[in-house]
Symmetry: C2
Subunit: 260 residues, 2 copies
């Protein structure tokens, strides 16, 4: 699919013509993580995000019962415009599906959260290599010993993604990603995996291991898997997310998320 307009891409997805991951679609536009929860949990989840902005950068929260993200993609429909969803009941994966028309209900609230695609393209433009992209893998992610600040029923450890960066480019990677606080911002840890409770970089908790070359430093960013992991620990009666890699494509340009 060569479409570059996010509206066209979403229409293709809505019509069932694209069921694969969204990486590379509508380049330059912000892609978002999706978390849908019953409205009884919305305040706690929004407060959790406010207290943990690096792993949980909220791009938009829909009105209760509305599947339309009127700020980031007016006219879109979060029940149909992602290629694949995961439905969790009581914290356990119940099924995967390609639309939410049947399951959507008036008490649901959708949260769109920033994802690392936006800062990865900024890293590449700045000449900073991104290893898992080079190796055609999913980014390696690790559960750390750093706790999130709890809010209501939500609590749990921070999850980080790791990218090995050549030592002379680490400062540039900090500066470039730091311009994007709405998509995790600057790294939360540089070097010394043990310092945040990571024992073995070869064995990520999520995603896949990547090669680390001599002279490279492991750099750790807050990761959007954190809010999903934390929400699941609270075992909500119903929670819906995007399937990994199958993101929501907004009308926002990556550059619109740069710090102002």
């Amino acid at each position: 699919m060569a479409a570059t307009d996010p509206r066209v891409v979403r229409e293709q997805i809505r019509m069932g013509k694209w069921r694969r991951p969204t990486a590379g679609l509508a380049p330059g536009y912000v892609q978002a993580n999706l978390v849908i929860l019953p409205c009884e949990l919305a305040y706690d989840f929004l407060l959790f995000a406010q207290r943990n902005p690096k792993p949980c950068p909220v791009l938009e929260v829909t009105e209760v019962g509305s599947p339309e993200p009127i700020l980031s993609a007016p006219g879109a429909d979060l029940r149909k415009d992602l290629p694949r969803y995961r439905i969790f009941r009581e914290g356990r994966l119940a099924e995967e599906t390609t639309d939410l028309v049947e399951i959507w209900a008036p008490h649901l609230v959708a949260f769109l959260l920033g994802c690392s695609f936006s800062f990865e393209s900024a890293l590449l433009r700045a000449g900073v290599p991104v290893r898992h992209l080079e190796e055609g893998k999913n980014v390696p992610m690790f559960t750390t010993s750093l706790p999130c600040v709890p809010a209501g029923v939500f609590q749990g450890p921070q999850v980080v993604s790791m990218r090995p960066i050549p030592a002379p480019l680490v400062a540039r990677a900090v500066q470039v990603s730091g311009r994007f606080p709405a998509v995790h911002g600057a790294p939360i840890h540089i070097g010394d995996p043990g310092g945040i409770g990571i024992r073995d970089l070869e064995r990520p908790d999520f995603g896949e291991a990547v090669s680390i070359r001599p002279g490279e430093v492991p750099v750790f960013w807050a990761c959007g898997v954190t809010p999903q992991a934390v929400a699941l620990q609270a075992k909500p009666p119903l929670m819906i997310t995007h399937a990994p890699g199958h993101m929501f494509i907004t009308d926002l340009r990556d550059e619109s998320l740069a710090a102002l």
Copy 2:
């Protein structure tokens, strides 16, 4: 009061030994706007802040019923540690008071919001003059024609503060304040007051007019009066704020709010 430790300053205030505005106290530490609302309105207000981060930069939200800001000033008591409060009922000022011990209730939630003191001290350190401080006045504030993004019962226009800046220093003022997104960040408008619905810079809606000299440009920042004005329009049964200028002094250093 020469105290520079925020804990000491709060203790003096708590004991009734300081009843005046807090500007200049505990220099280098973040001072915050206070808004207290019934918990039924807390989700809408937090969502309003999420949708309008420049006028409503949330520093902390207390647990329902707790007057302790455990993240920004553990051990402090928001019922006693500000020199003066305003109590609004159904959107109207009912009284001013020096403590909230009698009125505090288990259904109240306190919001601490960033205030411009932090970026003003950064402007001064960068050699950018701040006219209302030079003239010993309250900053001039104007209701604009720019609407906030509504959330639930909360809606209304953005309020801005205005500082006249010499033309060669406008860019520096943008860069310095832009480092502090948690205290309103970069200006939202530079020059042309009419473009945001301001008719007369001599007649601010709040605060006091300041002199604008030849070669100076009026620069407009999002203002913490916005959430108070918007909340009052919704006529909540009870709402409590700090009295103007009588802020809450946190344990956070101004520099800790710099964008990361």
